[in-house]
């Protein structure tokens, strides 16, 4: 009635089917992802950030400590409406551009450690070309690390050196 060999064979087949599915799923996603990575995605220029300008209240409007002082305090100046100012986008960072030169950005994914998401973030910060990265100072690298929330990654993965090497290879 209970055939051990049959049960083992069936379990083996189920295991093989499961492992084949694992490999297929992993490979399929890797393949789709690789295809996505080679496509050139147009990157929009960073949108200007609107910040609210705040100013300290005039002396007359600050709340006096004692009731007598509060009575004595007179509000002469009318409240000023808050001013809307357009903050400059991050393109003022050294070497950053508002758009890629000639409208075509370099493939920053050539640098090991930069994936599609980081590339899009760098484009958003105004970095489109390998020569921009090759010219990063320590301060620029720290600025990018702060923006990407990857502390020490630029130096650990040697992005600046990699960019220089890629440029040298391209020039040769």
């Amino acid at each position: 009635m209970f055939n051990t060999a049959l049960v083992l064979e069936t379990a083996g087949l189920v295991l093989v089917a499961y492992l084949a599915g694992c490999g297929l799923g992993y490979g399929l996603r890797a393949m789709i992802h690789a295809g996505r990575g080679t496509r050139s995605v147009p990157v929009a220029a960073p949108a200007p950030v609107v910040r609210l300008e705040t100013r300290p209240a005039p002396q007359q409007l600050q709340r006096p400590r004692s009731p007598a002082a509060r009575l004595a305090a007179r509000v002469d100046e009318p409240l000023q409406p808050a001013k809307l100012v357009v903050a400059k986008p991050a393109t003022t960072r050294s070497g950053a551009l508002s758009s890629p030169r000639g409208g075509v950005a370099d493939d920053l994914k050539q640098i090991k450690g930069i994936g599609p998401k980081i590339e899009a973030s760098l484009n958003g910060m105004g970095y489109y070309h390998l020569d921009q990265i090759a010219l990063w100072s320590r301060g620029d690298a720290e600025f990018v690390e702060d923006k990407l929330a990857f502390k020490g990654r630029v130096r650990r993965e040697r992005w600046v050196e990699q960019a220089s090497e890629l440029l040298k290879k391209a020039a040769a």
């Binding site: 049959l6 064979e9 069936t10 083996g12 087949l13 189920v14 295991l15 089917a17 499961y18 492992l19 084949a20 599915g21 694992c22 490999g23 297929l24 799923g25 992993y26 490979g27 399929l28 996603r29 890797a30 992802h33 994914k109 450690g113 930069i114 994936g115 599609p116 998401k117 980081i118 590339e119």
Partner: protein, 37 residues
Amino acid sequence: MDLDSALYLIGFYWPYLLGAASIGLVVGWRSFTPPGA
């Protein structure tokens, strides 16, 4: 396991094998981490 018995088992238990393969597909898909993510 000889070929005949394997074919017999596949023919009989194919829905179970399909289920196992589907689970494997989902597990494999989710275990892939895109570079740079």
